[in-house]
């Protein structure tokens, strides 16, 4: 999967950020926190899963999605997000 595919959607980036911070969540809660509807969140999750950035686990009817700690790309994205956040908060302090 090409990198543009992952980063071309605000929704996907938002989901990645949430999972990167929290670790794991189910679709409904992810959708709620990301401000997306259920169906859209589901599509984004599938794309992120195909990219290997997240994994999922089913418990009966419940599906839990989690940030893929074993994926190098995922780890680098988390680092990027952390640096981004730090720089942003530094910028806002300077202002």
């Amino acid at each position: 999967m090409i990198i543009e595919e992952v980063f071309s959607s605000r929704g996907r980036v938002r989901i990645l950020r949430i999972l990167s911070e929290i670790g794991e969540l189910n679709i409904s809660e992810l959708a709620r926190r990301a401000g997306l509807n259920y169906a859209t969140a589901k599509v984004h999750l599938q794309i992120l899963k195909d990219a290997g950035l997240i994994t999922h686990k089913s418990f009966g009817r419940i599906r839990i999605f989690r940030f893929n700690e074993d994926n190098r790309k995922a780890i680098m994205i988390r680092k990027l997000m952390e640096v981004w956040e730090q720089e942003n908060s530094g910028d806002s302090k300077e202002v």
Binding site: I22, E24, N26, S28, E29, F59, G60, R61, I64
Partner: protein, 399 residues
């Protein structure tokens, strides 16, 4: 600015603090280890169910938490994935669902809060244990609450879940904490039979044992030389009078320390303990009472008020009901029916807030007598009034 205090670290006197060393429960600790030896020696081959019983403040919780810490440490050293989870059933409203949810959240904090049944949750738990090749010891503290709320079913399911998984490893063991074994009679015969094999009875602490426990806590909680011998003796004596209740004795000491600090004193005197004894009971019970439903609080308020109108040691259920109805009128609430109040009475008895016993056989007619054995009615009323004021409105549906 220096702040003078007799305390070194008062968190060591907190109800939730587990001391590094167990006092006077070593035999029971060894017994527990013996019962769960398989978890370390042959994990996955069998599971265990143990019941621990004893009165309030006899070390049930501290014993199991100590055991949990110790066995998980040992398992870790042997590279066995063993978890210990301690759940208080009463704090989880006696709900099997909430209890299981808490346990599942230990493994998956992001697990959704609704949308499935307790059965599904139990299956999920077993799946998690299988997936992670994990063994689990669950302690169900204050199990009375779960039995009272949901009867036999949860314990039946928990004790039988392994039997439905014949080909899988045995993963789930249970420790059940009860104040009185008589609660087991409320379980069905087959559940009872699976639970009743291993029972550890914790006797009330003696005065000397309480002294040891207090001295141990004093070492870490108070500054050196601030708690004289006589103070410890008195707190231990009062603890012994309260059915050998260590929690009570520790609480007394904490409060006595607070009185000393408030006076700017340098030493916790017996007099401070005596003053603490006058107030500690309500403090100790405060969190238990505060978790009661709105109408249970109203019912208890009715009882407290009735006791202030009588010199008798007991009141009848009829008198309690009458008094409750007057309270409901005052709070502008519709009074609950007799059957509901009967349930409230049972629950308050279980919590140890009131004492309910059948009237003597030689009395005319048959009723249940309610006693307030350990708290001044006036203090209870004050406490409840404050709580009801701060709680505000009744949140139940049919108020």
């Amino acid at each position: 600015m220096s702040y003078g205090s007799v305390f070194r670290d008062e968190t060591k006197l907190d109800i939730n603090y587990t001391p590094p060393e167990l006092q006077h429960r070593n035999i029971q600790f060894k017994l527990l280890n013996e019962y769960f030896r398989h978890a370390i020696m042959t994990p996955g081959k069998m599971t265990q169910r143990v019941i621990i019983t004893g009165k309030i403040g006899t070390g049930k919780t501290v014993l199991t938490q100590h055991f949990g810490r110790s066995i998980t440490r040992e398992a870790q050293q042997r590279h066995i994935n063993l978890h210990y989870i301690h759940v208080n059933c009463r704090q989880n409203k006696g709900s099997f669902f909430l209890i299981l949810q808490k346990i599942v959240a230990h493994f998956h904090p992001g697990f959704p809060k609704r949308g499935y049944s307790a059965e599904e949750l139990l299956q999920t738990l077993m799946q998690i244990l299988d997936d992670q090749n994990t063994y689990l010891i669950i302690t169900l503290d204050e199990l009375e609450s779960l039995i009272q709320n949901e009867g036999s079913e949860p314990m039946y399911k928990l004790s039988r879940i392994e039997e439905t998984r014949l080909k899988e490893s045995r993963r789930l063991s249970l420790i059940c904490i009860l104040r009185e074994l008589s609660w087991l009679s409320k379980l069905d015969a087959s559940t009872r039979s699976t639970l009743q094999n291993n029972i550890i009875q914790l006797d009330s602490y003696t005065k000397t044992q309480l002294q040891d426990i207090l001295n141990d806590r004093i070492k870490s909680a108070f500054k050196q030389g601030t708690v004289p011998f006589e103070t410890v003796i008195l707190a231990a004596e009062l603890g012994e009078e309260e059915d050998g209740n260590a929690r009570y004795a520790i609480e007394l000491l904490w409060r006595a320390g607070k009185y000393t600090d408030a006076e700017g004193g340098k030493e916790v005197a017996p007099e401070h303990v005596r003053r603490a004894a006058g107030s500690v009971y309500s403090t100790m019970r405060k969190d238990e009472i505060s978790t009661l439903d709105y109408h249970k609080k109203l019912f208890l308020l009715g009882i407290a008020r009735r006791f202030q109108q009588t010199r008798s040691a007991h009141i009848t259920t009829g008198e309690a009901e009458e008094s409750y109805k007057i309270v409901c009128e005052e709070f502008d609430k519709k009074a609950r029916g007799h059957t509901q109040l009967w349930k409230y009475m049972k629950e308050l008895t279980t919590l140890g807030v009131i004492k309910a016993e059948p009237s003597p056989s030689n009395s005319v007619g048959k009723t249940t007598l309610i006693g307030l054995p350990r708290i001044a009615a006036v203090d209870l009323e004050k406490e409840l009034n404050n709580m009801l004021k701060s709680t505000g409105e009744d949140t139940s549906d049919d108020n």
